[in-house]
């Protein structure tokens, strides 16, 4: 859906999406890294389970909700990636304890 422009010379950062290594760039938000990676990053909604991807990328729509380093319901579009970050695609409601 998206690809990186060749002029992007930022250093790589490795994150893990559902345990699989994904190459991101320093300064990417989690949502941008997911959309650039080509992995199926569709979450499913808490109400009907419908698949969703980020819609606004600016912190207002909450369609980018994702589990980051064990904490659920994080807004992926507001959190920058960090080396070794563990991202889980959130299916349905946030689980208790996450």
């Amino acid at each position: 859906m998206f690809r990186r422009s060749e002029q992007d010379k930022r250093p790589q950062v490795q994150i893990f999406v559902d345990g699989v290594a994904v190459a991101a760039r320093q300064g990417d938000t989690v949502s941008a890294a997911l959309l650039a990676s080509g992995v199926d990053a569709r979450r499913s909604t808490a109400v009907s389970g419908a698949p969703r991807l980020p819609y606004c990328m600016m912190g207002v729509c909450f369609d980018c909700l994702v589990t980051i380093d064990g904490v659920g319901n994080r807004q992926g579009c507001l959190v920058p990636v960090a080396e070794g970050m563990q991202v889980e695609i959130q299916k349905g409601k946030r689980e208790i304890g996450k």
Partner: protein, 472 residues
């Protein structure tokens, strides 16, 4: 790295580091007022100057001269004594000017003598059939990715809607080598005639020549369909096609990405939760705060600057930020106000920046069918409530957006009405034969962004706080 505010009290707290907030914070700090700037994003710039200090897009022509203006504003801020905290989410502001802010998972409280809200705008909801499908995003979302991560659309891409941002985004995508298959222009034909009386002011505004050359640049490379009167996205769990009607003819085209845009509206949540009075703006079709000439709201001590004060664009936002900061300086340190630009000069500058706005507002006023959906089209994305659901609730007695919460939970999901509020107001107004002003809006309350109970529970408590809730 997360840093809590250094003090508990400030002369001025500015919320939002877009054009208005950057200008306000540096003006206030330069005049010697203790100033705190809180911003939710990773770096300063807001949406217009998104990633201004970190963008990987190094060819300056690609993002355009208007973008790089932001670098000067950030430089002025850095040269000032303002304390700046990024990734700081303000979740409460009250009439006593007490602010609760979440930073790195912990909340801090600060008190201000003056608050300048510069929370900007968000894109108007675009509730068409299929707008919740993966692969449908806002144009602003694509622009955010382009600016902050140099990402461009790669698959079959359709851009639909209207307004200056749509053309700017299209030009930027093309300059970075991205793909656009078709642009579907939804500008209503009648709007051209309605806007004509306001054309002179626009012709003399700086936006005119820039806008025209950008449209020419895009139209040379992309097929543009104008007069689009219907629009729908479809696919099974993922966008597969976009169908539209133009000139009475329906067409369906395959698509991987649909970018929607029909203008921006003030981001009202924090201001409304603080009790600031808002009125329905019948031209801009949104809620705008009631403000005096210095941006002061109905709540003493709270001023609003930038697009949150009513849409005016980035240039106007900068001047509004300076005006609000100057008013704060006049009130708190009158002697220091003498060295700032005189208020009269700022107001002249603002009038110049706002020139042509009525023309744009009239020309790009979105059509009713793209604002007020029907049938199974989702209105509230969080709670997945359709237009039909809303109308059925009206039929059995829901009188306005607040009653509708009890019927359908609209606006009660995590986005707190940001993506459905305007639609619900207009839909209910139409169904009940009332004006949006009469129908009203959701009653917004803190926390205006979700925070965890654990974070609330960890908030520092005084002995009196504990006594107030403990038995015995």
């Amino acid at each position: 790295m997360t840093v809590a505010p250094k003090r508990e009290d400030y002369d001025v707290v500015v919320i939002g580091a877009g054009p208005a907030g950057l200008a306000a914070a540096s003006t206030s700090a330069d005049a010697g007022l203790s100033t705190l700037l809180l911003d939710e994003n990773v770096g300063p710039g807001g949406q217009v100057f998104r990633a201004i200090s970190s963008t990987p897009v190094t060819d300056r022509n690609q993002l355009g001269a208007d973008y790089w203006v932001g670098a000067d504003l950030v430089q002025s801020l850095r040269a000032s004594n303002a304390e700046v905290i990024q990734r700081a989410t303000v979740w409460s502001l009250d009439r006593n000017l007490e602010i609760a802010v979440s930073i790195g998972g912990a909340s801090a409280f600060v008190k201000a003598k003056r608050v300048i809200l510069a929370t900007g705008a968000l894109e108007r909801p675009f509730p068409i059939p299929g707008w919740t499908l993966p692969g449908v995003m806002t144009a602003g979302a694509a622009q955010t990715m382009l600016k902050s991560s140099a990402l461009v659309p790669d698959g079959r891409t359709v851009i639909a809607g209207q307004g200056p941002l749509l053309w700017l985004l299209a030009a930027q995508i093309l300059r970075l080598g991205g793909r656009i298959d078709r642009i579907l222009d939804t500008t209503e034909r009648g709007n051209y005639f309605a806007a004509l009386p306001h054309a002179f002011a626009f012709l003399t505004s700086p936006y005119f020549t820039k806008g025209l050359s950008m449209m020419r640049e895009v139209k040379a490379k992309v097929q543009v369909v104008s007069g689009v009167t219907e629009l729908a996205a479809s696919g099974d769990g993922q966008l597969a096609s976009v169908s539209y009607v133009a000139g009475g003819k329906r067409e369906t085209i395959p698509a991987d990405l649909l970018l929607l845009h029909q203008g921006v509206v003030p981001n009202v949540n924090l201001a409304m939760a603080a009790g600031v009075e808002h009125r329905w703006d019948d031209l801009q079709l949104c809620w705008s705060p009631v403000l005096d000439a210095s941006g002061m709201s109905s709540v003493t001590g709270i001023a609003i600057a930038g697009d949150g004060a009513g849409i005016g664009g980035a240039n106007a936002a900068v001047v509004r930020g300076r005006i609000a900061a100057r008013a704060a300086v006049e009130a708190l340190a009158p002697a220091a106000a003498a060295k700032l630009a005189p208020m009269a000069a700022l107001r002249t500058e603002l009038a110049k920046a706002e020139r042509g706005r009525v023309f744009l507002d009239t020309l790009f006023r979105p059509s009713p069918q793209f604002r007020i959906p029907s049938g199974d089209t989702i209105v509230c994305r969080c709670e997945e409530v359709t237009a039909k659901d809303v109308l059925e609730s009206v039929a059995i007695g829901a009188t306005g957006p607040n009653q509708l919460k009890a019927y359908r939970r609209t606006g009660m999901g995590p986005c707190q009405g940001r993506l459905c509020g305007l639609t619900v107001t207009e839909l209910m107004a139409q169904a009940r034969g009332k004006t949006p002003q009469e129908i009203g809006y959701y009653r917004l309350r803190a926390p205006v962004k979700p925070i965890t109970l654990a974070e609330l529970a960890a908030v520092p408590k005084t002995e009196d706080d504990v006594k107030a809730v403990v038995r015995g």
